[in-house]
């Protein structure tokens, strides 16, 4: 994001709009801390500035990745989905990515509102690769691996910051507890927050493949979640 400080009339309304606190006022002039900015576009899109101080610009590689993973108005080429780029359970009654005893395990790194680097993401993917967990293929992140088998991301992008990234693994129920324990341990090695979730299909008796595993692990889950109503079944 570019700024035109000469347009600024010092109202100060923009200073709080940035989710990663990248808008600064120094010696009376507005500027953007480019190392913090994740190119989410909020400062520009909300028209917070009546004199259009903020102006989007063409982003070079690898900075363009910041916008791809942080601006929900931009769709990922690989999946056709904006934002983090996953359909996950939202179309599972049609796509059946999660089926039978297969559980989707996701780690959303950097959320809520803190941000993360691809280096943080690699810390998770490397650890999970060592555990033998299988990455879900339908994820824009897949294009950024140099060695998905070892969870290694392109070295030239590791310093790039994004608002959040979702890493997803498809795990057989029999292996779920082991993978979750590894993922939780890996998450706590990061300085950024990580949201974890599991997904699966409902059996005829209304149970899910992950339910008894979570109970056995005594994980104190949140009461919230998502349910695909199966209207397309």
């Amino acid at each position: 994001m570019k700024v035109n400080p000469s347009h600024c009339f010092d109202c100060g309304d923009c200073l709080s709009i940035c989710p990663v606190d990248a808008i600064l006022k120094q010696e009376g002039a507005i500027s953007i801390d480019q190392s913090r900015c994740v190119e989410c576009g909020v400062c520009w899109r909300t028209n917070v500035c009546p004199t259009s101080v903020f102006e989007p610009e063409d982003l070079p590689w690898p900075r363009v990745l910041r916008a791809l993973f942080s601006d929900p108005a931009i769709e990922h080429r690989r999946t056709g989905v904006a934002g983090r780029g996953l359909e996950e359970i939202k179309t599972n009654d049609v796509c059946r990515v999660y089926a039978g005893d297969l559980v989707g395990v996701t780690a959303e790194i950097g959320r809520p509102g803190i941000g993360a680097s691809f280096h943080d993401v690699q810390c998770i993917t490397q650890t999970l690769a060592e555990s033998g967990a299988r990455l879900a293929a339908d994820n824009p992140l897949m294009e950024l691996f140099v060695d998905p088998g070892h969870g290694l991301i392109r070295p030239d992008i590791l310093r790039e910051r994004i608002l959040s990234v979702i890493v997803e693994y498809l795990v057989p129920k029999a292996d779920l507890e082991r993978i979750l324990r590894i993922l939780i341990e890996a998450s706590f090695r990061l300085s950024v927050p990580v949201l974890l979730s599991v997904a699966g299909v409902y059996a005829a008796d209304g149970t899910t493949p992950y339910q008894d595993v979570l109970e056995e692990m005594a994980l104190d889950c949140l009461p919230t979640g998502k349910i695909n109503l199966g209207f397309m079944r």
């Binding site: 979750l180 927050p193 299909v201 209304g206 109503l229 397309m232």
Partner: protein, 227 residues
Amino acid sequence: MTHSLYRLGGNIWGDDWVVIARAARGINDTGAVARLRRFLEQARVSGAINWGHGRGGSRLNADWKTMLAKLVDLATVTVVFDDSVRLEVFLEKIREMNLELSITVSGDIARIREICDRHGWKPHSGRQALGLFGGRECLPPSEVLCLTSQCGHGLIAGRRVEDMVARIRARELTPDEAALKLGRACVCGLLNPSRTVAVLRHLAERDESRRIIRKHQEIQNKYGLKL
């Protein structure tokens, strides 16, 4: 995306439901724009309090016609309800309309299951939020987090929430005006304006709010963000 999964704050600020409509890429996405449009129109007459999609904006930052005009076949369309009765009537109607879209509801899982049971719907898949792990020291206080987590893409800044509270206290803005300003950052229309007004009013009106926030932070750290 799992962007409506972690709306923190539970039911203490009132009902909070997100309904998501989507076509599957390469399977039933051809001509989905017309069906997504019907979904949105039905939500509007059924009492949804916010709506939108990433490309077209929301009720709080785009006009209705522009938002509809920017729909694409693969748009993820979201609508928000603050009333479970209205939600249920809406879902019944959507079921009858047979829009050939996948419909997902986000919120309190037990209550969504109750709605399904009442109507004999057999839910297909579920996603369960496990909690917040990793480094949490840099997170804002829980009541601020309750609003920043309203935008699943993380576009609502904690500092903006504090700014709005200060401006309500200074009588520069009403809670409704502040909620509208806050909601403009949430491009998909996921923010629940009723909840936002309630939380902002609470934060602004209580003299002891800062002390309470610190207390909540302690509880949050102790028990792992289960507020």
